[in-house]
């Protein structure tokens, strides 16, 4: 409990001093105690209250007491994401270091609600130690996590049987470990491993061998450490049992250890006989009874050549010989330049999934939020490469409460844009046409003098919006995909299709925009080889 106290104060300060702080306008999911769940725009976090809005366009700020909430999925921070990525990828030392950083930075990562990253990081460290098979560290960390239960989501507020077993094993309390595992309903590889360790500790070698098998068999594609250790211990036990009828079994195990997990070697101190056994040839027994038919080549097996780019790229000179990059050549397919923060924050929610470099919208209301845009700037450039499956749907949306903003959407094949400067009525214009199922390159440029240039493919429309920009000082994300309503308050179906690229650049003028883009990527960026209209600003 003592570690929580210092964290409260800075948070309150942040919320109080900066209402539009980091967490502002970020999506979060609240899991209520009554079983309901909602994804909301988080406005702020207090010791006992969560302040939120139903959507960015909503004006009403709701307040939810901590006592009403089971847990909150907060918008992630970069360190957290990196830590999670490292853990998932098995880079445990790196993950532990990063989780340590999360814990050490409570200002960014701690909110006094279950689901905050500081508490979660402590629990994740416990998981890492378990993956490292380090009984003593698990035992020590388990105590720390136990003290965090108040700040953990309900599903983590329990001592897992495996953790209890690890703790017992750290004390060589073998019976205790087995007792702890008795409640496990769906044993995992780790469960098997722990039971095997306990049985081994009790001298029940035969039983331990079968349990170790559970560990290395069910752990396919999982932590190599667990598989390797299970195989090593199992092999050693089978060897010590000395049953000549188990020679084939022993040979299989040491061979698997050496070839697949030991980088060609057995463990240090392995008996010489085992090395000889591993060298021997295995005569595979006839196949287990199986109805596995002849393997079919997977549909996604790569055929044809590895190519360096699209046909468009092929028509261009080499990158070194040109001063621009196509979006398909960028490391980041979604970006925001000239925003309120150093780097954009990208949040997916609802029915959208990332496939390779693209976002796939299933039409149920998914959206990708890119924050946080600066709508004070007079120059704006929106680029999008997409394929729509519908002729009518939302596409791009950016607004701050009811103050103003813009929206781009499709209506019966036409592309429309609502433009609503601060506290002014929205004006709606047709700015192009979009065909379903066709790769569409869209670029909208809003110039300082009010000119709006829209390019859809090679078709260009030029018109005007009121000079002076949107005049919205607050930062707000630009969203592509679904929206609640257009700026003209029209309800439309959510977007369904794919988005390959989206970018939003805002600047004082076009030249600055180009300059900032060039600074970030080393060259100018184009959807298609060079749209000359982008020049000269």
């Amino acid at each position: 409990m003592s570690c929580r106290i210092p964290f409260f104060f800075p948070i309150l300060v942040v919320i109080a001093a900066a209402p539009s702080s980091m967490v502002r306008a970020d999506l979060a999911t609240i899991y209520f105690k009554d079983g309901k769940t909602t994804t909301i725009e988080l406005e702020g976090v207090d010791r006992a209250r969560l302040l939120w809005k139903q959507s960015s366009s909503a004006s009403e700020v709701n307040s939810t007491l901590r006592s009403e909430v089971d847990s909150v999925t907060f918008p992630t921070t970069e360190t957290w994401r990196k830590a999670e990525d490292a853990r998932e990828s098995g880079r445990l030392e790196e993950a532990l270091k990063l989780y340590g950083e999360v814990i050490a930075d409570p200002v960014s990562n701690y909110f006094p609600f279950p689901g905050n990253f500081v508490s979660l990081a402590k629990e994740r460290m416990l998981q890492c130690y378990r993956l490292q098979l380090d009984a003593s560290k698990v035992a020590a960390q388990a105590k720390i996590v136990r003290e965090e239960f108040f700040h953990l989501p309900p599903e983590l507020k329990r001592v897992e049987p495996e953790t209890a077993a690890w703790t017992a094993i750290a004390d060589e309390n073998w019976e205790g470990a087995i007792t702890a595992l008795e409640t496990v309903e769906a044993p995992t590889a780790e469960t098997y491993f722990l039971k095997a360790r306990a049985l081994e500790g009790l001298g029940k070698s035969d039983e331990a061998v079968t349990e170790y098998a559970g560990a290395y068999v069910l752990n396919f594609g999982g932590s190599i450490l667990l598989t390797r250790e299970a195989l090593r211990r199992s092999s050693q036990l089978v060897f010590e049992l000395g049953d000549p009828e188990k020679t084939a079994e022993l040979q299989a195990q040491v061979k698997l250890y050496r070839d697949l997990y030991g980088k060609g070697k057995l463990w240090e101190g392995a008996p010489e006989q085992l090395a000889t056994l591993a060298d021997g040839e295995i005569k595979a027994l006839g196949e287990a009874e199986s109805e596995m038919t002849k393997p079919k080549e997977p549909a996604d097996k790569m055929s044809g050549p590895v190519i360096s780019g699209s046909a468009t790229v092929a028509t261009l000179p080499a990158q070194e010989d040109r001063d621009f990059l196509l979006v398909e050549e960028l490391p980041d397919r979604v970006f925001l330049i000239g925003g309120r923060e150093d780097k954009e924050t990208i949040t997916m929610s609802g029915g959208v999934a990332k496939e390779a470099e693209s976002f796939v919208f299933d039409g149920t209301g998914g959206q990708v939020s890119v924050g946080s845009a600066d709508l004070r700037k007079l120059f704006m450039q929106i680029r999008m490469q997409f394929e729509t499956e519908e002729t009518t749907s939302h596409l791009i949306h950016c607004r701050y409460d009811n103050l103003g903003g813009f929206s781009v959407y499709l209506k019966e094949g036409e592309l429309l844009m609502d433009w609503a400067p601060r506290e002014k009525a929205a004006t709606t214009s047709v700015i192009g046409k979009v065909e379903p199922g066709v790769l569409t390159n869209l670029m909208i440029i809003l110039r300082t003098d009010g000119r709006r240039e829209t390019t859809v493919g090679r078709a260009r429309i030029e018109d005007e919006v009121p000079e002076g920009g949107l005049e919205i000082v607050q930062g707000t994300p630009v969203v592509f995909g679904n929206a609640e309503k257009t700026m003209a308050n029209e309800e439309l179906p959510p977007f369904k299709g794919r988005v390959h690229h989206f970018s939003f650049v805002s600047a004082d003028n076009g030249l600055v925009a180009v300059e900032e883009t060039t600074t970030r990527f080393g060259k100018k960026v184009h959807l298609l080889p060079p749209p000359p209209e982008a020049e000269g600003e």
Binding site: V306, F324, G351
Partner: protein
């Protein structure tokens, strides 16, 4: 402004300059002048083609390039120079984009070969004036190679890529890394595995390259190279480069699962399980993705959407649900493969875990469930997890009674049950499963064996004999033939078919001379031969055991058998003693307490027989010290009694006998109680005064802790003792009355119950009351001692009934005795009983076979005069007077003393003779009878006198009348 010029404005490359020059030359104007209407205009067409390609409008691009080529292609080299090749390059790209790779080859080839830049360096100034270079030449060569590769012309593609590496090495537009990768892949596809791998692995090891490219290369090598090379090479590849794919987030790894799954299955198909497991190790466990997908599902499920989106939401939820199911199926498929790999490696703990999990978790509707269960059974059996093997086997049989794998599962299951010595289940299950199999099928081999062998273990010897014999006949090459041969012999032994047993074992020894079962077979064969007095053969086999298998566990009992044979052959005592001594010592060595106990018993008897009391005492002591709990303890004690009496230890013997009786007092059905009580009473009778005997019996009756069963035995023995002492009937009857009072059949042994029943029948003349006692035993204690007596006694009571139905019950009981009970005394009574019933019912024809059967068995002497007389009566009733007469004569001739039958036989003989008109002869017969028996007091004799008197008067009158007539 044309795109070409826009392009030129924004670029300063050579390419751009060239395009600009091209534009100027073609139009003779300055940049900026365009003729957008004329699509055969090279500049317009070029720019529009590029634009169409950028928008993936392949048809448009193709139309434009074809238009220009058609318009200007002839002489283009001279007119425009190599630069005209650009149109062919664009055409090639359009064709490629339009999935016309084959057609694109010609375009790229033309661009590269026809529009070479060579002229620009070799031509004269005039010749090259105004001509521009083809800047896409190397790019065209790359695309040409790509197109060849796409059309699977790997050799051609390889040659082209090799060329690119030479000519394009300084061309910044050529991505040499990709070229190298593609070239490597072409080598692989063209069969040059070594070179291919070299080219591919170099960029794979280059950490400066993007993760995506390295993953692509890894997968190409995995798919194209690894299946073609030996595993050690694959292993090196895996160990060196697998981190390229192993460390990605789960979701990315999951995308590759199908491809690794394919490689693993390919390896399994080639019987290469280690390789398969290497690929399975690359697969991400789909269950790890469940939380992510479940979260997506839950999130959408909980997200309110406008009404009009309800259907779409449902559709997406359905799709997500399908994906969740795919994850589970992917897990199952992988685990199945992993389990199969471990099975092939004979790592059965591994395969057991996999298939047991699959059996438990894949769901009952999974199409491969029978396979999972089957494999779980087989794997469990291999690691001796009998309980689990049985459970999965049972599940299989319950759920898939018609499945093709049923025989295989059944086979394992029944053998498993048999090995677990669960013979009841083994017998039942094997009996069930084989019903669906055809006798003689290989798959029925084991179930048939288990059925027969289980029957043997269950003591169902007739079934065992039938089944094992059938197996022997049916499965001439059967898997369990040797075992069946053995069990068949044992069955014959159990059935005491010694001759057949000896034959079976003898054949076994010649068929399987090296069988590990040879020692027990020799022993059983010797035992069988001993029983049929082929003593020399038996000795020879026993000697073989001692010579060839002296350290086999059969050797000690074989010594005992040899002792039994020597004893039978009346060999010198020393010889017999030698055998049993060896049996004893061997038994001690092998810790065979039964064998040693038997040896000691025989040694004791030998010593007693030879009045070697000290030696007997020694054996007695050894037995009491070490084998007092042996099964032979009672026999041993009885055998030791003479020695104990001789050594003045009669009281010790008496006490021991009494103790044994006392120990067994609580079980009325105990055969030991019956035997030991008999021995106890005999011992008392032989060694003590009658008063003492009766005192002891009374003591038992009233001792604290005694039981009704023991009391019953004691009272019957007391009654017998009193009868022997000629006590008056009332005194004896008093004991029976006491016993009868409150008699509960379930508390008493059969013998006292039968004795009481007989007393009730014979003394109290209340057979119906007695029947209750008998029937309790008949209904509740089949197979126990005296059961058969009950059967006969009850039948005899029923036979007296006036009710035909009750008599039929008696007939059935008698028939049961005749067919199933080997006791000759009872069989005789039964046949007699049946014949008498039929006589009583005047069913003479049916009575005849019973009487004939009785008379056929010459050892039956209980009622031969009756049988003969009755048979003759039957013949007489049938009108067969000649045969009847013969038998009647034989009755009074052979059994004159049996007056009941001999007098009747005389009378019937005389009557028949008289009936045939031989009055004088009839009188002579009666005269003969009265001469022999006339002095005897018997109703038959009286009757004969009366008849004789009557007939004589009649005969005299008749003679007088005849004389008068003369």
């Amino acid at each position: 402004m044309s795109q070409l010029r826009q392009f030129i404005r924004s670029n300063s490359s050579v390419l751009c300059q060239a395009a600009l020059v091209l534009s100027c030359l073609l139009h003779g104007g300055t940049p900026g002048q365009t003729q957008e209407e004329d699509l055969t205009d090279p500049v317009i067409a070029y720019n529009k083609s590029v634009s169409a390609i950028q928008l993936r409008n392949w048809g448009e691009a193709l139309k434009l390039t074809n238009g220009v080529i058609a318009e200007h292609g002839n002489g283009a080299m001279k007119r425009f120079g190599p630069v005209f090749g650009h149109f062919y390059f664009l055409k090639g790209l359009a064709l490629l984009g339009n999935d016309q790779a084959k057609e694109s080859i010609e375009a790229f080839k033309t661009c590269y070969e026809t529009y070479s830049n060579e002229i620009l360096s070799t031509g004269t100034d005039d010749e090259i004036k105004g001509l521009l270079p083809n800047l896409f030449r190397n790019a065209a060569l790359v695309q040409w190679a790509n197109a060849e590769m796409k059309t699977e012309q790997y050799v051609a593609a390889k040659d082209l890529f090799e060329k690119v590496l030479v000519v394009g090495k300084d061309d910044s537009k050529v991505n040499l890394i990709h070229v190298g990768v593609n070239l490597g892949r072409c080598y692989l596809k063209a069969g040059d595995l070594k070179k291919g791998y070299e080219f591919m692995s170099r960029p794979l090891g280059n950490t400066n390259l993007s993760d995506g490219l390295r993953e692509t290369i890894y997968m190409i090598i995995a798919e194209d190279w690894t299946p073609e090379v030996e595993f050690p090479e694959v292993l090196e590849f895996l160990q060196t480069y697998s981190e390229v794919v192993d460390n990605d987030p789960f979701i990315e790894r999951y995308d590759r699962n199908d491809r690794f799954q394919y490689l693993a299955q390919l390896a399994l198909q080639k019987q290469d399980p280690v390789r398969a497991l290497a690929w399975y190790e690359r697969i991400v466990n789909p269950r790890l993705l469940l939380p992510e997908y479940e979260q997506r599902f839950e999130s959408l499920k909980n997200r309110p959407v406008p009404e009009e989106l309800g259907a779409k939401k449902a559709e997406v939820l359905n799709e997500l649900s399908k994906q969740l199911n795919d994850l589970e199926q992917g897990y199952i498929q992988t685990l199945n493969g992993v389990g199969s790999s471990h099975f092939m490696l004979q790592n059965f703990p591994g395969s057991y875990v996999a298939f047991s999990q699959l059996s438990d978790q894949a769901g009952k509707s999974h199409p491969e469930r029978p396979v999972f269960l089957h494999n779980a059974v087989v794997s469990a059996a291999q690691i001796e997890k009998w309980k689990e093997a049985y459970q999965y086997g049972k599940q299989f049989l319950d759920e898939f009674p018609e499945h093709d794998l049923k025989p295989a599962v059944a086979r394992v299951l029944v053998e498993l049950l048999f090995l677990r010595e669960e013979y009841d289940e083994a017998f039942r299950v094997s009996g069930e499963v084989r019903q669906d199999m055809t006798a003689g099928e290989a798959i029925r081999d084991v179930p048939d064996f288990v059925y027969g062998a289980s029957a043997f273990h269950l003591g169902e010897m007739e079934t065992a004999e039938t089944e094992l014999s059938a197996y022997f006949q049916t499965y001439t090459e059967g898997e369990r033939r040797e075992m069946v041969h053995f069990f068949l012999g044992l069955t014959k032994v159990q059935l005491r078919k010694w001759e057949e047993a000896a034959g079976v074992f003898s054949e076994f020894l010649s068929t399987y001379p090296k069988s590990p079962l040879t020692p027990p077979v020799l022993y059983q064969a010797a035992l069988s031969e001993f029983m049929i007095d082929r003593l020399e053969d038996a000795v020879a086999k026993v000697n073989r055991i001692h010579e060839e298998f002296p350290n086999h566990e059969t050797a000690p009992p074989a010594w005992n058998l040899k002792g039994d044979i020597a004893s039978t052959l009346e060999a010198p005592m020393e010889e017999i003693e030698f055998c049993y001594t060896n049996g004893r010592d061997g038994g001690i060595r092998f810790q065979q307490s039964d064998t040693t106990a038997y040896s000691l018993w025989q040694l004791l008897m030998l010593a007693v027989d030879n009045e070697q009391w000290d030696a007997a005492a020694q054996h007695y002591q050894q037995f009491q010290d070490d084998y007092a709990d042996s099964d032979y303890r009672n026999d041993f004690l009885v055998a030791a009694l003479p020695m104990l009496v001789e050594q003045g230890r009669a009281d010790e013997g008496r006490q021991l006998l009494r103790d044994r009786v006392w120990e067994n007092r609580t079980d009325p059905e105990s055969a030991t109680l019956s035997e030991m009580f008999g021995s106890y009473v005999d011992f008392l009778e032989s060694n003590y005064e009658n008063d003492f005997l009766q005192e002891q019996l009374r003591e038992i009756q009233f001792e604290r802790g005694t039981t009704p069963a023991l009391r019953g035995w004691a009272m019957i023995a007391l009654a017998d003792s009193m009868e022997q002492a000629e006590a008056d009937a009332d005194t004896v009857n008093k004991i029976y009355y006491q016993l009868e009072a409150g008699f509960k059949s379930e508390e008493h042994s059969n013998y006292p119950a039968v004795r009481l029943a007989r007393w009730i029948t014979e003394v109290r003349k209340r057979p119906e009351e007695a029947r209750g006692l008998y029937e309790y035993i008949l209904e509740n204690r089949p197979g126990t001692p005296n059961y058969d007596y009950c059967l006969v006694d009850v039948a005899q009571i029923q036979a007296q009934s006036d009710d035909p139905a009750v008599r039929e019950e008696a007939m059935q009981k008698f028939a049961e005795v005749v067919s199933a009970i080997p006791n000759e005394e009872l069989r005789e009574k039964a046949v007699l009983g049946m014949a008498r019933i039929r006589m009583q019912e005047k069913k003479y024809e049916e009575a005849i076979p019973h009487w004939e059967k009785y008379l056929e068995n010459r050892s039956w002497s209980l009622s031969r005069p009756e049988a003969n007389y009755s048979l003759a009566s039957c013949y007489e009733q049938q009108g067969n007077l000649a045969d009847a007469l013969k038998i009647y004569v034989s009755v009074y001739a052979n059994f004159p003393g049996h007056l009941d039958w001999s007098t009747r036989a005389y009378l019937r003989t005389a009557a028949i003779t008289k009936g045939s008109g031989e009055d004088l002869k009839a009188l002579q017969i009666l005269q003969d009878m009265l001469k022999r028996m006339g002095h005897l007091d018997h109703p038959g004799v009286e009757k004969a006198k009366e008849v004789f008197g009557t007939w004589r008067v009649e005969y005299a009158a008749k003679v007088k009348s005849q004389e008068n007539a003369k």
